[in-house]
């Protein structure tokens, strides 16, 4: 028993310190078992499907997935269009700014949701490092951001979902251009709360508040590519614990609790939480362009 304890402590210490071979060994085991898991999953799927439904589950599931994809695409296109219009106006004012660069993507099916009882906010997708996916990359659907790539194996990857309230994201309010940090409400996975970096207007001027219903996107200062839609503002109020700070609640465009596919943006993320909100650099804020000289941005 003592020997087992020492072995466990050694393994824990090595894993926590990021000792490479430990992670490599775990990846190797998962990759080795992945084909076996796939076969077992195919064998078990009738039982799982029967458990989840009473009739015609497969047809309904396929139809539902197709409809959800189309709906997500439509919602995402609408949100993106609004964000683009706002951004485009600013880009017209500041020349030589790259906006929404073309980012290669990989779309993958969700092979399984959480395997344990404590990892509710993790899904596994069927593509991994063999497809160029790396930890920290943003994961989206047609409706916007759904999470970030966490653990990557050769042929699969784990995605930490937006519903995890520990996942902090730098965002920009399209209507005002302000940037802040937020996370999903632990009690309500469909609500994103921006509670850091936003100031309540001086003199309590309500006209300076962000408009309800306007779009929120990722900020350039976040760990993800800029301008990925998150959702729409549904409430704005004064922080009850800090009377100069503003809290913005956002209704997320995606319901990440029941995803059937996801798309990874193949752009390396900054694999750390942004500690301090900083102004967006891709879309200049409140820029004033002198008519004769143009922008120096």
């Amino acid at each position: 028993m003592v020997l087992l304890g020492l072995t466990a402590i050694t393994l824990l210490s090595l894993d926590l310190s990021g000792f490479g071979p430990i992670g490599t060994a775990q990846r190797w085991v998962r990759d080795l078992l992945h084909p076996v898991t796939q076969v077992a999953g195919a064998i078990a799927s009738p039982f799982s499907n029967a458990w989840n439904a009473v009739f015609d589950y497969d047809d309904l599931e396929a139809e539902r997935d197709q409809l959800r994809k189309e709906l997500d695409d439509a919602e995402g296109a609408q949100l993106a269009a609004e964000a683009e219009r706002e951004a485009f106006q600013r880009l017209l004012e500041a020349t030589e700014i790259t906006y929404l660069p073309t980012i290669p993507t990989e779309t993958a099916d969700v092979v399984r949701t959480a395997v344990g009882n404590f990892d509710d906010h993790v899904i596994t997708i069927e593509k991994g490092s063999n497809h160029g996916i790396r930890p920290g990359m943003a994961v989206v659907t047609g409706a916007g951001l759904v999470g970030r790539v966490d653990r990557v194996d050769a042929t699969t990857a784990n995605v930490q979902l937006l519903s995890d309230s520990e996942l902090v994201i730098g965002v920009r309010l399209v209507s005002t251009g302000e940037v802040g940090l937020g996370h999903t409400d632990a009690e309500d996975p469909l609500t994103f709360v921006i509670d850091r970096g936003l100031d309540w207007p001086e003199d309590d001027d309500q006209s300076l508040l962000p408009e309800i219903g306007t779009v929120v996107v990722t900020a350039a200062s976040s760990r993800y590519p800029a301008e990925i839609p998150l959702g729409r503002i549904k409430d704005v109020y004064l922080d009850p614990e800090n009377d100069i700070a503003m809290i913005v609640e956002v209704e997320l465009a995606n319901d990440v609790r029941d995803l059937s596919y996801a798309t990874v943006l193949l752009a390396e993320g900054v694999d750390q939480v942004p500690l301090v909100p900083t102004p967006s650099t891709s879309i200049p804020l409140n820029i004033e362009v002198p008519e004769d000289t143009g922008s120096d941005q």
Binding site: M1, L4, L14, D15, L16, R30, A44, N117, F118
Partner: protein, 160 residues
């Protein structure tokens, strides 16, 4: 060899069937079940080793650092084997009760140790509900798992 096959089967069922099939949102913990029954059947000397290996296999797929589930199951298995040697007559109903308590205890132990090891989100009030459901479902599955574990252990510690 047989034990490896049973552990692999438990892992595969866990990763496939019990991703979808959940009871009030909670899945049975088959590797815990293997560890507890194994310890019950073969005693405190080798039981914890079996449980440690089972936990290590499960650790590979869990978000916590490698070794958290392994040491949790080893401790639980040691307790099960020690209590069984001193207090119990091994009967199926007693084993189901032991599985209920030990599986629930393993869930709580995993959450506590995982919380200490940098995953504070595991320490939530919900863990008691999860422990209760895992205990019940594992106990229900026990009559199916005992023959498999008896076969895996070559008849060692076979129950009357």
């Amino acid at each position: 060899m047989r034990l490896g096959l049973v552990m692999l089967a438990a892992l595969l069922v866990q990763l496939t069937v019990f991703v979808d099939v959940r009871f009030f949102g909670v899945a049975p913990e088959l590797l815990s079940l293997v560890a507890v029954i194994g310890a019950f059947l073969i005693g405190s000397e080798r039981g914890p080793v079996l449980a440690f290996i089972a936990g290590l296999i499960w650790d590979v797929y869990l978000p916590t650092p490698l070794g958290v589930m392994a040491i949790t199951l080893a401790i639980v298995a040691y307790a099960v084997a020690t209590l069984n040697e001193g207090l119990f007559q091994d009967s199926p109903s007693q084993l189901m009760m032991v599985v209920f308590l030990a599986s629930g205890g393993a869930v709580l132990g995993y959450a506590l140790l995982g919380g200490i090891m940098g995953s504070p989100e595991l320490l939530r009030i919900d863990m008691f509900r999860i422990a209760l459901i895992v205990g019940i479902t594992n106990a229900v599955v026990t009559p199916l798992a005992v023959p498999a574990m008896t076969w895996a252990l070559g008849g060692e510690g076979a129950m009357r």
